[in-house]
Symmetry: C2
Subunit: 452 residues, 2 copies
């Protein structure tokens, strides 16, 4: 019997790349389960990934590119010739294309745009010029709009010939514009069914809500929340000219990307993105930039301990409790940060509610501070049977818990009010203060107790 | 001149509630900007919120309920009479209704269901019986399906009479079922336009992809990723009976809710939800349940310090560096956790890739460990001019950074492999080990240095 050797999918792809077998490669990728494909792609080097894309038909390559984070997609495009890159970018929906192109250097971008169809390139330039998280940055330029005097029969003929480029659901409402390109309303496809081909769009015209090209992600989210039915919204400039349509999908994706980024930032991944496929130098550099700020904050906080060396020497057992008090206060404070971040996201609180949030946290801080303080005091008693030690560490933890939730609950609101990203700065600001306070409380209480 | 007093929106709502002015209340809420409404609602007590809902027309009340987190929506319903609650629930889309009802106690649920239209109640019972994050739990039962022999004219007549209950975009494809309720395919609305009213659906039948009622959130996400165009998917049982449709919207909302929950869990909010409108007892209890586990882990970690009291007494300056080393290692480890969580979410890594991830982290750990170790050693030198102290704390931090990124990078994969929620457990597991290692390395290096 032959031994069965299970070849890993990425090894097989690599073989096919070396053998330069485009057809076999397409067939093989088709045979893989959908969730194996991303994993396989990321096992290849960026060079191999680029080579893979050139082997695939541009439309398939575009589909693959759509599945990887934008910054990484840009890295791969960078490795292709401008012409190859252009042919793939042209197959992406215009909103996705703009997102990927926006990640490129100006020079690489210009080279690729030069190789694209001039109309597509102009559209892409236009889309990239808007902020990425605005309606302009998220909209697509594939849509159909007609003058109100167009005959239904002509609309249907055009729709039938265009469906390949335009998502089907964007055709459920046909937009009607004035000769100068201003949006006048829309006609439901269902109203047009069975209409006489010679009647005109005007006859079925209904008002349609729209968004402004400058609207931000939160405003777009509100729009789609309020317009349950809408799969896309027309995007207008301030003089009501129709510039494009923004899809619910694009808004959803931008929101979930932002949530991912915020989660990464909170844990110290600056820029909100890192994949292990990035070069080691980049990965460790980005992480280090945040760590080096943090170590300085840590040294500042620990310097409080340095001021109390005599107290510590007189009661060395305190050294055991210093990290416990500071860590636990950090945990309590982080819980409060998490709740404030969520309430900010849901729109339940705003920066001006800081005093109200603080009052709400005080209660939790008092209850949990007393509970944790008693627990720690008991642990200290079991270990050393020293009542003074128990009281010092218990009281310090109780008080520092109140301080920690007060700061944790309010700091995201304060930072937001100061236009500083609360996802990035809340954590380090909180732990620096709670560490300092924790060390100070334990050691100053202890020095007072020793002096009695 | 009269003084201008700016009344806060919730104060005005409260007045109108007291004055029992339903019409004025509806008008006033209509006049508020959309993002003021949620904030206003959350300023009211749960009783006032319930009273507000009874004053509003059920459809408006349902719209409001749709905007608050499900657990909170259930709390409000709980405060209403079963009859009032039922009339509001009936106005929610069936997928949303099931989510809210699923949060209620069995008794309250049964009471409300009894007051509902029996068909709606049966549907709700059915939907609640599926896991919340499966196609069954996320689907809605408002859809239209016809036998293939139905005449186009009849389909159009039915569609025209039904649009109030069924989102417009669900009508872009008309589903065709067999007499036994099995899904046979679908007909595009655009293909039906201009068809002779006497032709039958069968003539335009096209295949349609579907999901299984047992499919999980990740599988649904994959489906919609692969079906760019789809705004909804038919949900079938294993014998291909059509049970409902799941909307892209519902899947997206479930995903973003899960991301929110994970972010909350990572910061110690068990259950993944807390709003400050909850009773103090509930809030502090939930937070405390996590904190009390954490304080035990902290005490275990700090007990390492207790074993080295003599070393500490001989070199009290070490006490300053213990929290720095443990905190910084925690930070480095958390960065690695964040990257692993992201790669797990994107499907780039799986539990079996643990060795590969570890190799990728070692490099970052070595570079950043040496950099941070040198920084801390320098700080120690500037403070004490003691070369042994510098070497001890620098080497301990360098080595502990390598340990921290190794654990941080691999622990989410290991936990996932063991079917433990990595969002919840990665943080505490990581910091407990890095704290213990940090304390041990500093103190054992120091005791070795002192013994020389």
């Amino acid at each position: 019997m032959e031994p069965i050797v299970a070849t890993k999918p990425w090894e097989r792809v690599r073989e096919l790349l070396v053998e330069a077998e485009p057809h076999a490669l397409v067939d093989y990728l088709d045979s893989l389960p959908a969730d194996d494909i991303v994993r396989t792609v990321f096992r290849l080097t960026v060079d191999e990934q680029a080579r893979l894309l050139t082997f695939l038909p541009p439309r398939t390559a575009a589909g693959l590119l759509d599945d990887v984070p934008e910054a990484h997609a840009a890295d791969i495009l960078d490795d292709l010739s401008a012409k190859e890159a252009a042919s793939i970018v042209e197959e992406l929906d215009s909103d996705m294309a703009a997102d990927v192109l926006a990640e490129l250097d100006a020079d690489d971008l210009e080279e690729i745009l030069r190789q694209m169809d001039p109309t597509d390139a102009d559209e892409a330039r236009q889309l990239i010029s808007y902020p990425a998280d605005s309606a302009g940055g998220l909209m697509m330029t594939e849509y159909l709009a007609f003058s109100g005097s167009t005959k239904i029969g002509d609309v249907v003929a055009t729709v039938a010939s265009q469906t390949a480029d335009i998502p089907l659901y964007l055709l459920q409402q046909i937009m009607v514009i004035s000769p100068l390109g201003r949006l006048r309303g829309a006609v439901n496809l269902s109203d047009m069914a069975f209409a006489e081909p010679n009647t005109r769009l005007n006859q079925f015209l209904q008002p349609i809500d729209s968004v402004l090209v400058t609207n931000r992600l939160e405003e777009l989210e509100d729009f789609f929340d309020e317009h349950d039915e809408a799969t896309a919204a027309p995007v207008l400039d301030e003089r009501k000219h129709l510039l494009g349509v923004v899809r619910r999908r694009a808004v959803f994706e931008a929101i979930s990307e932002k949530m991912d980024e915020d989660a990464m930032k909170r844990q110290g991944i600056i820029g909100g993105d890192e994949l292990r496929s990035l070069p080691l130098r980049v990965r460790s550099g980005r992480r280090l930039s945040w760590l080096s700020v943090n170590i300085l904050l840590n040294i500042v906080a620990a310097s409080v301990i340095a001021m109390y060396q005599e107290t510590l020497a007189a009661a060395i057992a305190l050294a055991v409790f210093l990290p416990i008090v500071s860590d636990m206060s950090g945990c309590s404070g982080n819980q409060a940060v998490a709740v404030s971040m969520r309430e900010l996201t849901l729109g339940i609180v705003r920066p001006e509610d800081v005093f109200r949030v603080w009052r709400k946290e005080i209660g939790v801080g008092l209850i949990n501070g007393v509970a944790l303080g008693l627990l720690l005091a008991t642990a200290a008693w079991l270990w050393q049977q020293d009542i003074r030690l128990s009281i010092v560490v218990g009281a310090a933890l109780a008080l520092n818990t109140v301080i920690a939730v007060s700061i944790g609950g309010t700091i995201p609101l304060l930072l937001k009010g100061l236009k500083i990203d609360p996802a990035l700065a809340s954590g380090p600001a909180l732990t620096t203060v709670t560490d300092m306070c924790g060390f100070f409380l334990v050691l100053s209480f202890a020095s007072f107790a020793l002096s009695m």
